[in-house]
C-alpha cells in the first residue's frame, strides 16, 4: 500500500474546540482498549494452556514428548503419537494441495478468460466456507467407503507379499486412516492457498511479464522464469499459511483419522492428531491428570501453529513491502 492512501494524523492543537470534542480521548481509549483486548486474548490462550497443562508436563517431563503410551487407566500419558500424526497429516496435505493450488492460481491469472475468472475464483473460495464438520461427515460417509473399495482394497490385493509396499499400504480397509485424513485436509486448505497465490501473482508488474512475452517466451516460461521467482518469499509464506491451517484443523480430522493412539505404522493406518485427541477426549476426561495431559497437547499445538503462522505472516509481509 502506498503512503498516500494511509490516513495521516490530524493535528489536534490548532483546532478550535468543537461540539463533542470532550469525547474524543474517551473514544480513542475505547478503540485502544479493544485492540489490547485482542492481544490479551492471545496471551490468555498461552497462559491458560500453560497453567492447565503444567501438571502433566511436570509429572512426565521430557518423556511426554517422546512416549507413545496414552493410558487413562494407569494415568500415563505421552504425546508422541498425536504429534507425529499431526505433522504427518499436515505435511501430506501440503504435498497434495500445493501443486493444485499453484495450478488454479496460475490458470486464473494467466490463461482463464476474464469473464470466467471471477466466478471460478468465487467457487474455489466457497470451498473454504464449507464448515469443517461438513467435510468430516462427507469424508466419513462418502470419501472413506469409496476410497476403501476402489483404492485400498485393490492395492492390498495386488501387492506381492514381502515387498516394501506391503508395509506402506497396510491397514484395515475401512477408509478411515492417515491418508484419507490428509486428503480431506488438502481439500480444506486448497482454497486459502489458491487465493493468496493468486493475490501474489497479481502483484507482479505487467511490464515485467510483458517484456518476457516480448522476447518470445511461452506462457509456461513466463510463469517459470518470471512470475514464480518474483514472488518466491511470498510463496513460502503461503505454504506456511496452509500448513498452519492444516495443523489445527479439528473436526474433519476427528471424523476420519480413526482415532488410534500411538505412532501410525503405515500410510493407511489409523492415527490421531493433537486437535482430534482433544476434541474426542476432553469432555470425557476421567481425572485431573487426563485433563492436564489434553491441555498440554493444546500447548504443543499452540507452539507449533504459532511458530508456523508467525513465519508465514513475516514472509508475506516482506513480499508485500518489497
Amino acid at each position: 500500500m502506498s503512503d498516500l492512501s494511509r490516513p495521516t494524523a490530524v493535528s489536534m492543537t490548532t483546532r478550535p474546540a468543537s461540539k463533542g470534542a470532550w469525547f474524543d480521548p474517551i473514544f480513542q481509549f475505547a478503540c485502544l482498549a479493544a485492540a489490547t483486548l485482542l492481544l490479551a486474548a492471545l496471551g490468555g490462550i498461552v497462559v491458560s494452556l500453560a497453567i492447565g497443562g503444567w501438571p502433566a508436563l511436570h509429572k512426565f517431563g521430557f518423556s511426554f514428548f517422546t512416549s507413545t503410551t496414552w493410558n487413562p487407566v494407569t494415568e500415563v500419558y505421552g504425546a508422541a503419537g498425536p504429534i507425529a500424526g499431526t505433522l504427518i497429516t499436515s505435511a501430506l496435505a501440503l504435498i497434495l494441495a500445493l501443486p493444485v493450488a499453484l495450478g488454479i492460481s496460475v490458470f486464473l491469472v494467466e490463461f482463464c478468460p476474464k469473464r470466467l475468472a471471477q466466478p471460478i475464483a468465487i467457487a474455489v473460495e466457497l470451498l473454504a466456507g464449507i464448515p469443517s464438520i461438513v467435510y468430516g461427515m462427507w469424508g466419513l460417509f462418502v470419501l472413506a467407503p469409496w476410497f476403501a473399495l476402489h483404492v485400498q482394497l485393490p492395492l492390498m490385493m495386488n501387492i506381492p507379499s514381502g515387498s516394501i509396499w506391503e508395509k506402506v499400504f497396510y491397514g484395515v480397509p475401512n477408509g478411515a486412516n492417515i491418508f484419507t485424513a490428509s486428503l480431506i485436509l488438502s481439500i480444506m486448505i486448497l482454497p486459502y492457498m489458491a487465493a493468496v497465490f493468486r493475490e501474489l501473482f497479481l502483484t507482479v508488474p505487467t511490464q515485467v511479464r510483458e517484456s518476457a512475452y516480448g522476447i518470445g517466451c511461452t506462457p509456461f516460461e513466463v510463469v517459470r522464469s518470471v512470475t514464480v521467482p518474483y514472488v518466491r518469499s511470498g510463496m513460502v509464506g503461503v505454504v506456511m499459511l496452509g500448513l498452519g491451517r492444516a495443523l489445527g484443523e479439528t473436526m474433519a480430522v476427528t471424523f476420519i483419522i480413526g482415532n488410534a493412539h500411538g505412532l501410525p505404522q503405515s500410510l493407511f493406518d489409523s492415527g490421531s492428531t493433537l486437535a482430534s485427541t482433544i476434541a474426542n477426549e476432553f469432555t470425557e476426561a476421567t481425572g485431573e491428570m487426563h485433563t492436564a495431559a489434553l491441555t498440554a497437547l493444546g500447548l504443543v499445538l499452540f507452539v507449533i501453529t504459532f511458530s508456523v503462522l508467525a513465519i508465514a505472516r513475516a514472509l508475506l509481509l516482506r513480499q508485500r513491502n518489497d
Binding site: 490516513p7 473514544f27 485482542l38 490458470f107
Partner: protein, 282 residues
C-alpha cells in the same frame, strides 16, 4: 534443430496449460461432489418438523429446533461482542495507532489469532469461564465464538477504513466536527457496505464452528433459552448424531449439515455481492 526446440517448448506449454486447467477442474469437482452428496443425503430430511420438534431419542420422531435456537442464540451473543470489539480495534488500527510499533504488534498478532486453531480458543474459554464457574453454558459458547469472530471483524474493518479517502477525514475536520464524530458519521457510514460484509463473513465463519463449542456450551437434548446452562448447537448435534449407530439420527445429522452448509454458502455469496456492488460504484 530450431524447429525441434520450438515444438518442444510449445508442447511443454500445452502440457502446463492443461495441468493448470485440470487443477481448477479438480477443485470445482470437489465442491460439486460435496454439494451433491449433501443434497442427496440431507434433502429428504429437510421438512417442517426439523424446525418445530426437538432432538429426539433414538427411534422416535424429532427435529433440530433446540439446536437451531441454541446456535442462533450463541452466534448472536458472539456477533454482538465481536462487532463491538472488532470494529473499535479495527478503527484504532486504521485511524489512530496503526503505524506505531504497538500497532504493528497488534496487527501481526491479530492475523495470528485469525488463523489460530479454534479448538485452542475452546480450551482457553474452558479455563477462563467454565472451570471457575463450575459449569458449561451457552454464554461460554458465545464468548468462544466471539473470540473467533472478532479478529475477522478487526481485519476487515481496518482494510475497509484504510480505503476511505483522506479527503473525507479532512472534510469532517473542516466542518469543525470532533474526530470521533467524523469517524462515526462520515468514515463508518461511507464504509458501511464493507463493514457489513466483514460482519457477514465473521458470522459465516462461526456458524459452522464445532470444536470450541464441545467443551464450552457442551450440548443439551432439550429446549433451553437459559444462556447460563448447557446449550445445544447445530454443529455439536451433528457431531454427536453423525457418529451414532442409529439411522434416523444420522439422517438428522445430514439434514443439519445441509442446513449449515446452505446458510454459510449463501451468507458468503451475499457478502461477495455487496462487495462487488461497492467496487463498481464510482
Amino acid at each position: 534443430m530450431l524447429f525441434d526446440r520450438r515444438a518442444r517448448r510449445r508442447a511443454a506449454n500445452a502440457v502446463f496449460v492443461a495441468l493448470c486447467g485440470l487443477a481448477t477442474l479438480l477443485a470445482l469437482a470437489a465442491l460439486g461432489l460435496i454439494m451433491v452428496s449433501l443434497l442427496k443425503q440431507g434433502f429428504g430430511g429437510l421438512n417442517l418438523t426439523i424446525f418445530t420438534k426437538d432432538t429426539p431419542a433414538p427411534g422416535s420422531l424429532g427435529g433440530l429446533r433446540n439446536a437451531i435456537v441454541g446456535s442462533a442464540a450463541m452466534c448472536a451473543t458472539a456477533m454482538v461482542l465481536a462487532v463491538i470489539v472488532g470494529m473499535l480495534a479495527g478503527t484504532w488500527l486504521a485511524e489512530y495507532g496503526g503505524d506505531t510499533p504497538y500497532g504493528h504488534v497488534v496487527r501481526f498478532l491479530n492475523d495470528v489469532l485469525l488463523s489460530a486453531p479454534s479448538i485452542l480458543v475452546g480450551l482457553f474459554v474452558y479455563e477462563l469461564i467454565v472451570r471457575p464457574f463450575h459449569g458449561f453454558s451457552g454464554l461460554a459458547g458465545g464468548v468462544a465464538l466471539a473470540l473467533i469472530a472478532a479478529p475477522v471483524v478487526t481485519r476487515t474493518t481496518e482494510d475497509i477504513l484504510r480505503l476511505q479517502p483522506n479527503a473525507l477525514r479532512e472534510a469532517g475536520v473542516a466542518l469543525g466536527a470532533a474526530r470521533w464524530v467524523t469517524i462515526r458519521k462520515i468514515i463508518w457510514r461511507g464504509a458501511g457496505g464493507g463493514l457489513l460484509t466483514g460482519g457477514l463473513l465473521a458470522f459465516a465463519r462461526i456458524s459452522g464452528e464445532t470444536a470450541p463449542l464441545l467443551f464450552t456450551a457442551l450440548n443439551n437434548q432439550f429446549f433451553a433459552l437459559d444462556m447460563t446452562k448447557p446449550m445445544a448447537s447445530l454443529p455439536a448435534v451433528i457431531f454427536q448424531y453423525a457418529l451414532s449407530a442409529y439411522d434416523d439420527w444420522r439422517a438428522l445429522a445430514w439434514a443439519g449439515a445441509l442446513l449449515i452448509a446452505l446458510t454459510v454458502l449463501s451468507i458468503n455469496i451475499i457478502g461477495r455481492v455487496i462487495v462487488a456492488r461497492g467496487n463498481t460504484r464510482p
